[in-house]
Symmetry: D3
Subunit: 136 residues, 6 copies
């Protein structure tokens, strides 16, 4: 049976929900105040989970220090204190909803972590709204 | 792969654990102080989770504002600041354990949310006791 | 300079806000859904704080185990899983608002704790509503 | 002795720390990544505290429902999902540090709440950084 | 469909990560400051989850009071305020990583809880590092 | 009126409560399981608060990045993943109760922070036990 190990990190960012193919009225209608043209922001809490077998020599599934370093190097250094729409390439043509941010983070980290480990992302946009990817 | 989106709401309610087919002694024996005839109460924290694919136009699996409104209209407006045993029809003949409250909430919301979305309920009765439905 | 030491405990109780000298209409008008005749309830989080000098032999201002035992014996054993209006003498003629519950707990504990220690009570009725007594 | 009553609310906003009388280099040097020209953001947690005597008829120092409504009408409706620098008049010429935001909120609410009540503001910019005003 | 019921308990313990077959240098290299020979410690938060069908008479999947008692008798009484490496038999020859502690707790409780209930363990070593067993 | 600014940091450490002038029996009697000779441990949460006037140029009372760096350099680097009794000079002859740890941290930081700022320490030993220094 596998063990899941999780590391929690955070980043603070501005964003705006917006579909460029829609009129301003439709963006306002669908996204409400989340579509404010001058942006708003969040303290995002990010939990990265890996599933695997504990190594018999270390007792670790994965070194949490190494996982923390990977998250900081590849995710939070790119997103922390940034405007997700304007300062990152990922959301130039992708709406930075919590769902899409979680999928982007999963894709970034999937390239950094050996495929022997299943990878899951949980992202809190606020204390009351959060997403998980993949989910089943 | 699907994304799970979750919304947290809360309600404050009184309840009493009680099986009307049992003697008072047996109710006291099985439910202890939770069977106090004058009721006690909790701040229930409710997390509602939907699983689905993000919409390509919005980037949403489900509009969290709409989910919050559904929960308030169909669940918390009926349970908040109520006596679950006396003020709601759901627990007239059903013991209001956390397990049963979660199942009742699932049934209420299942009628409001399209079947393309899987639905899960997590309910905290206290910070130390909580339930999830369905679980596997 | 003094040190403040604090112990957090909790209890779950039902209550109803109600002034018996008022009509039902006025109770409803002032207290809203908090005046539901069938009661509602909360998970109360209670923080008891003592101020004093650390003892030179122990390094303790007060033994937290002893403080925890005092709180359980004199406060939570009387309030936990109870209906504050019906099951306790304290609120027979006193409205069990968070303010009044905090004052009652302060008076109970003030009799148990030597006057060399200043005593303060903090009581969370919900995560978003809380009171402190005395305050200045 | 007085009782302090507190209400917690929240708002999500974008901001940028910036002194217009300084060069970009100096802003960058002093405020670091908090001076990102495209803004970043936070989930601000706001706690408003009033000190007073419980009313003998209600047992309330202040109706928390009324306090919550005042905060929403006068504070969070103006700041939530806004860019503090661009969308509010308060920070046109005032750097939106947590300190200054707390002082602004205090001034707004001081005009709404009778002077018989002392007023205090606590504002969490992140879980790890927070301010209180006034403090002594 | 099954319901999952969970109980949260905690214990405070000292430990040291160390592989006796390795040199001190290699232990230091792999485990860093977690291998400090004089130990360090944590407030462990333990969540025990059982999956099953609610009983038709009680509405309980499992009595949380009974589960809490089992955890205290068989787990926290053995681990709380202990040195996991020196004071327990479980980690004499097993590195007390969060992964291994969770597996040990699962094995202890599996013997106490009827096999009709699936059993899962979640263990927080810190607020930012936690593990789950079994996971899939 | 002054503003209080606070920064939260954490460290994980082992300790043992023990008075070397007492017999083992008396240590056991007074400190209970906290006197376990093989130590136990905690995740300490440390909140450092400074009181002062916001600077008119920056809007800061104190740069939180600078405060965080001071805490890490002078406090958590010395205490994190350490045995407080054996690995630090501060508790060679001083019992590492939460009270004494808070006083030691206050003395360390008082030398690093200009006297124009009042300094306060809040230290959580567990979620349920915490101390503040100085208090009045």
């Amino acid at each position: 049976m596998k063990v899941a190990v999780s590391r929690k990190e955070h980043f603070n960012a501005a964003h705006r929900l917006y579909n460029p193919e829609w009129s301003d009225e439709r963006n306002e209608q669908i996204f409400g105040k989340c579509s404010n043209p001058h942006f708003h922001g969040h303290n995002y809490e990010l939990i990265v989970t890996l599933l695997g077998e504990p190594d018999s020599d270390t007792g670790y599934v994965y070194d949490m220090k190494k996982l923390s370093d990977l998250i900081r190097e590849h995710v939070t250094s790119r997103f922390d204190h940034k405007n997700l729409n304007l300062d990152t390439a990922y959301f130039k043509n992708l709406n930075p909803t919590a769902e899409n941010i979680a999928i982007v983070i999963w894709r970034i980290l999937r390239q950094q972590i050996d495929n022997q480990y299943d990878l899951k992302i949980k992202l809190y946009e606020t204390e009351r709204n959060f997403v998980e990817y993949p989910a089943h």
